[in-house]
């Protein structure tokens, strides 16, 4: 479990993180979202005891990260942003070294190393020098060293950065498999990724928390949009769509020399009028070629939250 209370960090007189509070319950996967330079890494570094907070406190598994640092670090797996590796070591030797430093008993060390090599798909690079590995493999070695010794709490700073799509899926699956029995706190600036892995999202901007909710909760606050492709005269279609009760706004995409038109219908909050739209189009004798819901990406939400925040000030 991670508990953060009013954490604040100043570098000189520059505030990096201001009054940040949140909790990550045991077994929960929480995403920490924000643009570059928002204070994600600073918060994470305070959590693993790299530097102390200017004020406020944080506890991991009930131990204060500052006063009981060793107790915290015994049960913590950490993946820094730019994974720093000993380039002159080979993958397996490095992981054995980490296992020994983390205090895995000698008898179990090889088994533990083999386990993380399997889980992170590192079998083909066991004997290769870390400095010679591709970025994707280096990142996976970083994840491997974090999950060595089976820590209860994982703090991952941008775990999928630099990976190709297939590797991203593998790492995501791995992180998802921790749900329910490990506490995972991961930072990212890739928003869809967080909504895929995490049960809850904490959004930070300019050192302050701007929102904390489930990915669904965040998207639910916005109006749903539907995209349509209809074979019909444009003006009439627009009029007909606007007439459907529950439709807030309609916009058309112009495509010259073509009888099919593309439209985006924005529905009033909390209403689903897709059925009524279809009835109305088909009732007029037109062809409905395509219809799909436009999911609001977290990018949209993020921009909305940040502009709301600025509006308040």
């Amino acid at each position: 479990m991670i508990e953060v209370d009013c954490l604040t960090k100043y570098f000189g007189s520059v505030p990096a993180v201001v009054d940040v509070s949140f909790r990550v319950e045991k077994g929960e996967i929480v995403g920490f979202l924000g643009p570059n330079g928002a204070g994600k890494t600073t918060t994470i570094r305070m959590l693993n005891g790299f530097f102390p907070p200017t004020s406020g406190s944080a506890r991991i598994n009930g131990f204060d990260v500052f006063d009981r640092s060793i107790d915290v670090r015994k049960r913590l797996g950490y993946l820094p942003e730019h994974i720093p590796l000993y380039k002159e070591m080979r993958t397996e030797a490095y992981l054995r070294f980490v296992a020994e430093v983390k205090g895995v008993p000698a008898g179990q060390r090889q088994r533990e190393v083999d386990r993380v090599i399997e889980q992170c798909g590192l079998r083909s690079v066991r004997k290769k020098f870390l400095g010679k590995l591709s970025k994707g493999f280096q990142q996976r070695v970083g994840v491997a060293q974090a999950i060595l010794n089976d820590p209860d709490v994982l703090i991952l700073d941008e775990p999928t950065i630099g990976l190709d799509p297939k590797q991203i899926i593998q790492i995501r699956e791995l992180i998802k498999s921790f749900a329910g029995y490990k506490t995972v706190f991961l930072s990212s600036h890739i928003l869809p990724e967080v909504s895929m892995i995490c049960q809850r999202v904490v959004i930070i901007n300019e050192g302050r928390i701007v929102a904390e909710d489930t990915p669904e909760g965040l998207t639910g606050k916005d109006k749903t949009k539907v995209a349509l492709e209809i074979k019909a005269p444009r003006a009439e279609t627009l009029a007909r769509l606007r007439a459907v009760p529950g439709v807030a706004a309609v916009s058309a995409e112009a495509r010259p020399g073509d009888h099919t038109g593309r439209y985006v219908v924005e529905m009033e909050q909390g209403k689903d009028v897709r059925d009524a739209i279809v009835q109305s189009i088909v009732g007029a004798g037109w062809s409905l070629l395509e219809m799909h819901t436009l999911r609001l990406s977290l990018e949209d939400i993020f921009i909305r939250l940040v502009t709301e925040e600025q509006g308040k000030e």
Binding site: Y10, R45, N48, G49, F50, F51, P52, T54, F66, S69, I70, R73, K74, L76, Y78, P80, H82, I83, P84, L85, Y86, E88, M89, A93, F97, V98, E100, V101, K102, G103, Q145
Partner: protein, 255 residues
């Protein structure tokens, strides 16, 4: 202490899997071998002349060969040891591996002792490989064994002091060249500080001469074991290792 042992093994691996240890040890052996050869050749020339001139006495192999050889070895150490210690913390700070290392349940003392011990082993190997010089001397000149043993003891203690100081400097910077330059300067300063004894006044002069790394080595190379010298080197080590530990720990509380 399990982590200390892991760190110790890793540091040794780095020293011996890269050219660092080989280059430093080889240069040390080349230079010290040359100095030994010069002293020995000069000694044998003087001996030959003395044989033809009866009445000339006071030719002593300990004083003419061993004493200068140990003195010269200590000077080469002064030049070489900062090169062994400069990377120990600076490299890890620069690469960011120190951040990851300190996220493991490792105490600063464990990290420090692992690194200190690994560097001591490299130094010990370097010193051990010079066994050939006293052995050759023993084959032809039958020197006293005592001064040889004390000379090595002195070199060993002095080398440990160099390493402790070098570690401290390396923990303060992330630039290896800076670490080497400052270690070298600081060691040289401690080496020569006794020179100001003559004009620093009686009270301060005594303090300064007691601080000198070189002054405490003199008696060892002459075959004298003085507990004051041993205590000086041990204190020197403890002081600098302690400061290093504090400098590492300061990351955790300094804002």
């Amino acid at each position: 202490m399990r982590s200390s042992y892991a760190i110790f093994k890793r540091e040794l691996y780095v020293y011996f899997s890269s050219p660092i240890a080989y280059v430093v040890v080889t240069i040390f052996l080349l230079l010290s071998g040359y100095f030994f050869y010069s002293a020995f050749a000069y000694f044998s020339m003087i001996s030959m002349q003395a044989m033809r001139m009866p009445g000339v006495g006071g030719i002593n192999v300990t004083e003419m060969v061993l004493h200068p050889t140990f003195g010269n070895m200590s000077v080469i150490m002064l030049l070489m040891m900062p090169l062994l210690t400069m990377r120990l913390f600076a490299e890890e700070k620069k690469a960011g591996t120190l951040e990851l290392m300190l996220s493991y349940p490792v105490r600063e003392t464990e990290l420090l002792f692992g690194k200190f011990a690994a560097c001591m082993v490299v130094f010990f190997v370097m010193l051990f490989l010079t066994w050939l010089y006293p052995f050759l001397l023993w084959l032809y000149a039958k020197p006293d064994i005592g001064p040889i043993v004390t000379g090595y003891l002195g070199l060993f203690l002095m080398g440990a002091a160099f390493i402790a100081l070098g570690l401290m400097v390396s923990s303060l910077t992330e630039n290896q060249i800076v670490a080497a330059a400052i270690s070298f300067g600081a060691i040289l300063m401690f080496w020569l500080i006794g020179w100001s004894e003559a004009f620093a006044g009686p009270a301060l002069g005594k303090v300064l001469s007691h601080l000198s790394l070189l002054g405490h080595f003199e008696s060892f190379s002459k075959g004298v074991i003085d507990t004051r010298d041993i205590i000086y080197y041990i204190n020197f080590n403890i002081l600098f290792l302690f400061v290093t530990m504090r400098s590492l720990e300061s990351k955790r509380w300094r804002g």
